[in-house]
Amino acid sequence: MAILVLFTFTGIVRAQAANPKDLVKASFLADVASVQPGTPFKVGVMLKIAPHWHVYWSNSGDAGIPTVVHLKLPEGFVASAIQYPVPSRIVQDGNIIMYGYSDEVMLMATITPPSKIEQSNVVVEASANWLVCDDSCIPGEAPSLRLSLPIGNQAKPAQKDLFDTWSKRLPMSITSATDMADHTESIVASSTANHSGSQWTMKINWKEVPSKVEWFPPASEEIVFGNKFTIQTTGKTTTIIAAFDKPAKQNNPSAKLQSVLSYQTPSGRVGVTVPVVLTE
């Protein structure tokens, strides 16, 4: 039976004070002015966000919608996963905990061109979509971002300062986190499960306790972390205890998930990717 639903906005949506188009402005940038075959380069989708509004991280938290970028590459080009800068915690009504960005954020990827390129010019396309919120929320998208890059026998750098700044805001992988090694004695993580549920515990033993230690859990369709985990520093140890849920039939949750740990040092905010390993 076909049901004709007359869908109407009349009387339901109040006129938005802000023009949705002004809330997020998207641009697409590369850190090279020309592409050298075989030499990786970076691209970034920069989102400039109106004051008081925010967009979300790859795990939006208790609400929100992850900001997503899709790349469309020329033949033979390969891109890394989209890289998200360390987010901030956004707390609403005291109880709703979300993760995201205000002011501006650049989501990046590393693109590796093939070693032989026939054309003299390549086009990289991107689309981004997001939910931008303050007290209300407005979905938005930039569906047709485009970069046209000449092929050259060297990769000429472009916008180096911008990409340097934003690359520093990406969480470092744990094996290359030399900054973190300067600050920690050890990290011990384990997960446990009993009839009441599962939890993941991480203990960080610091050489010098930094300020503002924060942890951001990963999002996945199978492993669901609650956002009211405890994070407590006593003496020189920070303990994070995070409850999570997994599908009932899955006794071997082997998902390889990446969480983000961040903390404040004299030289700035440090972000580190901490794997959450839940294998038996």
Partner: protein, 196 residues
Amino acid sequence: MFKRVLLSFAALAVGAALIAATPSAPVIGAPAPQFSLQDQDGKLVKLSDFAGKIVVLEWFNEECPIVQRHYKADTMNKLYDKYKTKGVAWLAINSTQGKTNQDNKKAGAAWHIERPILNDASGATGHAYASTNTPGMYIVDAKGNLVYWGGIDDNPNGDKSTVKNYVSQTLDELLAGQTVSQSKTQPYGCSVKYAD
């Protein structure tokens, strides 16, 4: 260099320490919090009115564009039409501050919602359920226990070609007498706009 990174999994078969849920959050497998709220016609509706039935609770806010996206796609109405014939009850709950029965009645009429939309403008029931997002879904089994809490599906950005609807997955399992396979899933949508 890194001194030591130790990642290990220890499964405790015999549960010694109970992992305590946050006091204000409902617990999967435990009785769902009771409530008594007015519907869009001012009639009092209680969870206990549906004792013995499976109940879907849908946190609702007609101003949320994600709720709008789902009503435009007829997600909730289609699901309700399918499962009401199997005895499943479905209540929408609006915990948005300042909303009145009239607002709910207007939204219900515009979107052909043939089920109660409960007025929780005070936020008391939302807080009892630790509800954070709209659309936010909970399912209570026929024994009155909370068995599902999370998003309506696995498609927050609305861009997946194959979508897993968690509500129909859970209802199918309950109706077949099976264990609920995914009791908690990633929530998404607008945050609930609670009264201060």
